[in-house]
């Protein structure tokens, strides 16, 4: 028996969220006195694979080969389910990234397991297995008990800390057997902006709303994000107006995020917007209207015109970054 974690790589490199889920899996393995196996799919160099042992992996299963170059959800789900069965895994955990959300439910059904999706904390394991999740679009938390023997867990990024626990890990090749249904999706094109920070995983987010007056004024928002190494986001009216792409819309009907720092510029703070960002650890609100409701949900507030405050913040961020180096 084991705890099996699927560590997702992006072009052969593991992101912070991969080490978060390995640390999370290590905590369950420790609690349940089980070994931790980490599964990697796709072309990853040995040196990179061994980084997984830094966070507690004692066995690293690697799946490589041509069929796993372009990863479809079904291919990955089949590989994870077969690896879990081969390893007799009791707990199967992965990141609830865009692809993880499309994979975890398939793995749960293949393994006839209960699914704890989008969890945000370590489960309570003293009596049963109770997980904490966001509910009602960030307005509440739900606690859910998983009753099945085998449990599949997906965890949102930025929900669990990195815990170093260096182990000696063996790398074991694994070859899943794919069926016709696993390869029915053809990936025609993948477009990634290499220099852009992915919004759901971003630790810092700079977001702006209608207070920016028009898309032509977003340069300063992007500059601030760039200096901080932050992702950019926007409010719903902004994406509805076509000023920014829908993929940047955070809020109840957009993406829910939980960064360490969320800076909101010219966003009044409607309840639907707050729902999507209230899990942020620190919120800074900049608005020229001192009565903006968002100030009530913020940690730091600055009353002022965005066009004066943001350039000052860019300078402040530059100085702060210079001081760090």
């Amino acid at each position: 028996m084991s705890v099996l974690v699927y560590a997702e790589n992006l072009q052969g490199k593991f992101k912070k969220s991969a080490f978060e889920i390995v640390s999370f899996g290590a905590a369950i393995a420790h609690e349940k006195n089980l070994p931790l196996t980490v599964l990697s799919i796709g072309q990853v160099a040995e040196e990179e694979l061994l980084r997984l042992a830094t966070y507690g992996a004692v066995k690293i299963m690697k799946v490589e080969g041509e069929a796993f170059h372009a990863l479809s959800d079904q291919t990955v789900a089949t590989a994870i389910a077969q690896a879990a069965a081969a390893d007799a895994a009791q707990y199967v955990a992965m990141t609830a990234s865009f692809s993880g959300k499309a994979i975890a439910p398939r793995v749960a059904i293949k393994l006839k397991a209960g699914l704890a999706d989008n969890v945000i904390d370590l489960p309570k394991m003293s009596d049963g297995f109770v997980v904490k999740k966001n509910a009602y679009s960030g307005k509440a938390y739900a606690y859910c008990e998983v009753l099945s023997d085998v449990k599949v867990i997906s965890m949102l990024p930025n929900s669990y800390k990195l815990v170093e626990d260096q182990k000696q890990a063996a790398i074991v090749p694994f070859s899943p057997v794919l069926g016709a249904a696993d390869t029915s999706v053809t990936i025609r094109e993948t477009i990634r902006s290499a220099d852009k920070v992915s919004l759901p995983e971003a630790e810092l987010v700079v977001s702006a709303g209608r207070g920016m007056k028009g898309p032509e004024n977003w340069g300063m928002i992007e500059e601030l994000a760039d200096v901080l190494g932050a992702a950019t986001a926007c409010s719903k009216p902004v994406s509805d107006a076509g000023w920014r792409p829908h993929s940047e819309h955070v809020g109840q009907t957009g993406i829910a995020i939980s960064p360490n720092l969320y800076i909101a510029v010219g966003i009044s703070g409607a309840i639907q917007h707050l729902a999507g960002v209230s899990s942020s650890k620190v919120i800074v609100v900049i608005n020229k209207d001192p009565e903006a409701p968002f100030f009530k949900a913020a940690d730091y507030g600055i009353v002022g015109d965005a066009f004066e405050v943001v350039p000052r913040l860019i300078n402040a961020a530059k100085n702060f970054k210079a001081g760090q180096n």
Binding site: A113, G114, C144, E145, V185, L261, V284, Y300, L313
Partner: protein, 244 residues
């Protein structure tokens, strides 16, 4: 072209969320329920696709209290509706009910919203696809149909992907897939008489059990920083909050 659209009945996005004193149950008194916004995008797309002579069926797993939302979907343009008469116990339960219905009533395409506004799991569309052994494109921003293949744009980490899938398939609709449709008077009138069949659920053992709810802790009072003194903001956040 037969399209099935899965819909959820969820609290209005502006609703304040409250629970019973023991935190076990959601208090629905005083809360307006609506058609889940993402499901509305899926439905709008389905109505567009069926405009050339297809049929759109909406399906909901719920008790009779969801019928006003089902009628709203009919007013938007669905041809008929099915309600599986059972409370939605968990996502596996809901997905199993819908998959079993589709096995008996095959369709060319199943459209869902990418997530529901109550549980936000994005799990039901994927589970339906897995139970039926067909592809699922979650977070789909566009859908173009040519003969027996669909081309979809979907969100991925830090970008987007263009995929081709054979019919039948499941898609989870994101913003951008279709414009929201506002029901017109003719739609609202005809919705009253469109067929809504109620069927019994199949037996299924669930693997999860709802335990309780909780609300996020309220933040301590906001600290106002003068617009003339923002130079030290990041040092302040580092020293006080230790997050950067």
């Amino acid at each position: 072209m037969k399209i099935l659209v899965c819909i959820s009945n969820v609290p209005d996005t502006t609703a304040k969320i409250n629970f019973t004193p023991d935190n076990k149950e959601f208090v629905s008194a005083g809360v307006t329920f609506i058609l889940n916004p993402y499901d509305e995008i899926a439905l709008s797309k389905a109505v567009d696709l069926a405009a050339g002579g297809g049929n759109v069926t909406v399906i909901n797993v719920g008790d009779a209290s969801t019928e006003p939302t089902i009628r709203k979907a009919l007013a938007i343009g669905a041809n008929d509706a099915v309600r599986i008469n059972a409370p939605a116990r968990d996502s596996f339960f809901v997905a199993t009910q819908i998959a079993e219905y589709v096995k008996k009533n095959p369709v060319d395409m199943i459209l869902c919203g990418r997530e529901s506004a109550d549980h936000n799991g994005s799990t039901v569309p994927v589970m339906i696809a897995e139970l039926l052994g067909i592809p699922c494109v979650l977070f789909a921003k566009s859908l173009l149909l040519e003969a027996n293949t669909a081309t979809l744009d979907c969100e991925i980490e830090g970008g987007k992907q263009v995929v081709n899938v054979p019919l039948p398939f499941v898609a989870g609709a994101s913003e951008g897939m279709a414009e929201w449709k506002i029901p017109n008077m003719r739609g609202i009138m005809s919705a009253r008489t469109k067929p809504l069949s109620v069927i019994d659920p199949v037996d299924v053992a669930v693997h999860t059990r709802h335990h309780s709810f909780d609300k996020p802790a309220t933040r301590s009072a906001v600290k106002m920083v003068s617009a003339d003194a923002v130079e030290q903001l990041f040092e302040l956040i580092r020293d006080e909050k230790k997050v950067i």
